[in-house]
Amino acid sequence: MVVWEPRIENMPPEELEALQYRSMKTLVYRLYSFSEFYHARMRAANVHPDDIRSLKDVTKLPFMSKKDLRDGYPDKTFAVPRKEVVRYHASSGTTGKPTIVGYTKNDIENWTNSLARSLTSIGLGPNDVIQISNTYGLFTGGIGFHYAAERIGAAVVPASTGNTERQIELIQDLGVTAMAATPSYMLHLGEVAERMGISIKNDTKLRVGLLGAEPWSIKMRDRIEDWLGVKGYNCYGTSELSGPMFSECSERDGIHIWGDMAYVEIIDPETGEHVAPGEKGEMVLTMLQKEALPIVRFRIGDITSIDPEPCPCGRTHPRIRRIFGRVDDMLIVRGINVFPSQVQHTLMSIPEVGEHFQIIVERKGTLDTMLVKVEIKKEAFTDNIVKLMEIRERIAHRLKNSLNVGATVELVEPGTLPRYEGKSRFVVDKREF
């Protein structure tokens, strides 16, 4: 098994922690001295770089969030002079004002390197043809994979999103072996291929899916593998990290967060305190080597946990488990916390329905009502209306059991619920508070 940077990736845990501490210390001094934003933040929190005497002291530093990047639009949170910036990306701004992220030469290098390690850890190399079906452009999804795939010597097909028929032709004609996409796009591609009379499993060489950018379950991964013959590897990154991205290794048991680049904490979203080791909570990241736009104790909003066990692949860097949900995707329905991922998980256990769904929450009088729309599978359709009703009731019953809150279920035709080629939007909340 090839390791891209064995000296770093297999570093003994104590050495890695020492390296993280040194990087953290350097980062904090640099920011305190050269960034107006961070200087003011640290002063307000009454913390000085000298107070950071161990990795644990990181908790003395204030959190930051997406709001800080929005308020600092376009580049007030940057920590280098403009001449050192070599690239900008921007977030879509669907949830508010857009945010700008920036990169120095070293930032791009680290980004490329983080994914070169990941692709290698999955077993990809110069013999592979990698189709990048994430959006290129202002969104950071496509271009990071592109650089990394070239770095490891693979051939890149920069397909970006859309024009699925053409994408399928390219997969066949160029012998594409791996593809970077969202899991829902992967399934969409499978559906379109089937309509074209092409089986991804039997008629193409596609075997690896670098999948991420939206929550997905193990069952969805299994379906992609059984149906399309594509092994899905969970990838993680957000534009705010502006650069490094992470993925599962060949073990497919958690995402390696490269410790020399990022320091992970898991907190209780309510209290801000660390949760017990291995417990689920909100992920907080500090990017240790970022130059243009450093982020310190950034509350990403994703819910996950750290797997404390060493990975059988030999890499010593901490692994996070799957993203369980988003702090801000969490719905409160009749006082009960509901994560769309729970709904997804429940639906995947019901053979008659597909993986696409939509939750619609309304308030009738004072009572919240939750409607779950789900696509019935072609094979499950029966002419018998009573049997269809039974399917519906069974789904409603299972949802009630797993969510502790009742939902009405509506069966819809396959292919009619919205598919997003970026992040999936599972929830329509029509309540007015």
């Binding site: 019935i376 072609k378 359709f381 029966t382 002419d383 018998n384 209306i385 269809l388 009703m389 519906r392 509506e410 069966l411 819809v412 035709e413 396959p414 292919g415 009619t416």
Partner: protein, 143 residues
């Protein structure tokens, strides 16, 4: 040998929203297919459109290609006389013979009236009905 009495009905899953039925009807029209009989069963938020057409394979391919869930369901077509009492005469025997109707609809054709029924065990129903002298239409009479 009773195979010829299996009438290929198309069953289409459809969400209950405006324009859905028109979309199915237009597709059938565009293919130049004639509809003999037709019914909608209503579920919660969805329905099942059932129809008999003169070119079932062509209709199936068209609707399937449009992304509809379509399925063939075998039904029986009982000939009825188009006069008062015609329905009673056609079905009086069913209860006696223990044949349970899952669903049913009817139309008045040029030559006679036709009762479409869906039963659980189609072959035993055919046997019993033929023995009782009930006239069943054959698939070939529809195409």
């Amino acid at each position: 040998m009773s195979e010829m009495y299996h009438i290929k009905q198309l069953s289409i899953f459809s969400e209950n929203r405006p324009g859905r039925l028109a979309s199915v009807a237009k597709a059938i029209k565009d293919e130049g297919i004639n509809i003999f009989a037709f019914s909608i069963a209503e579920g919660a938020g969805y329905g099942v459109i059932r129809m008999l057409v003169d070119q079932p394979e062509k209709a199936f391919a068209k609707l399937h290609g449009m992304g509809y869930i379509v399925r063939y369901t075998d039904v029986l077509a009982l000939e009825m006389e188009d006069r008062p009492g015609g329905l009673y005469d056609a079905i009086a025997y069913l209860g006696e013979a223990g044949i349970n109707i899952e669903y049913s609809y009817a139309y008045s054709g040029r030559k006679c009236a036709v009762l479409i029924i869906r039963v659980e065990d189609i072959d035993s129903a055919i046997e019993k009905l033929l023995a009782s002298g009930t006239r069943l239409l054959e698939m070939s009479q529809f195409t």
